[in-house]
Symmetry: C2
Subunit: 160 residues, 2 copies
DNA sequence: TTAAACCTTCCAATAATTGGAAGGTCAAGT
DNA sequence: ACTTGACCTTCCAATTATTGGAAGGTTTAA
């Protein structure tokens, strides 16, 4: 099985499969005589696992841990649950953050007539110190390199 | 006003102020005799606008448009409302996407005893094709370079 | 005069993914 | 046998927003 077929079978782009290999998320693929990567059923199984974990919003770092646990015959379910729980917590935090932003924005929009006149409460709020208290309150400090993935994966299998 | 004071006054790090200048989001600052950037009240006003728009989850690209509208004395409120509305739509989509991921994960967690035995429905679901139908369904295709910002800004004013 | 606290530019890293160039390989059709 | 197209390879760069650091110049206060 070449990388293209593995890509179609797993839903992960060939580019990303190579990338996952480069960063050590998956072992180095065996190579054909002429250097083509070769994948078997078990490799696909792993790639599918990765794709589903990605779809569940896990970061690569988290998936790395999950893979180790998955491959450990004697793994304690406790550890997996811990990982998933802390991930869920992050997810929920991000959700409520986005929600409060959305609510504020929604209110601003509701108060804007949206006609051809320059009068606009949205811009007014963004430019007026006092009127924007809400933003400072609703948006909590948040780290850039959160392990909550920005978006779930596209299941990009070209069903040719 | 030097860049450090502008940073404290606006809540945007000096690094980012230079970056915003480099990408053309803000005009090039005037420089002192020895090359130090200099900011006045109006500059701070713009930076504050940017910081609030960032806190509202707008991407730099969106903020660029907002700034143009803001500075246009004859802007139609309609355009601003359109921009804000499409941004809100993206926000809501991201929220519901994250919510369905969170729900799925939450169910998996609920079914995991989380003891010292290796039996774990979380890993089982991630590794079993059929059991994971839900992931494929709940996670909609989604572009990486969405204009919904990953997280709102930290209001990082050192209140010295 | 010297030290601390600024400022400058430039370069690199982050996370995950995509794009493209330049070139090698394989299978099918002519 | 030869060409064509669809593969594959590696490497390098871009994306977004932000931070970190190095190496060096400036200002201010002691």
């Amino acid at each position: 099985m070449n990388i293209g077929q593995a890509s179609r079978a797993s839903g992960i782009s060939a580019k990303m499969i190579r990338y996952y290999e480069a960063i050590g998320l998956i072992p180095k693929a065996t190579r054909s005589y002429s250097g083509y990567r070769h994948y078997d059923e078990r490799d696909i199984h792993v790639l599918l696992f990765i794709n589903r974990a990605r779809a569940a919003g896990f970061s690569i770092a988290h998936i790395k841990k999950l893979l180790l646990l998955w491959q450990d015959r004697r793994r304690p379910a406790r550890k997996v649950k811990q990982l998933a729980t802390s991930h869920l917590k992050e997810l929920r935090e991000k959700i409520s953050e986005l929600q409060s932003i959305a609510e504020t924005l929604s209110q601003l929009i509701a108060h804007c007539r949206g006609d051809d006149r320059p009068d606009c409460p949205i811009l007014d709020t963004l430019s007026d110190k006092d009127a924007t208290q809400e933003f400072a309150e609703t948006s909590k400090p948040n780290r850039l390199h959160s392990s909550v993935r920005q978006s779930s994966s596209k299941q990009c299998v070209k069903t040719k």
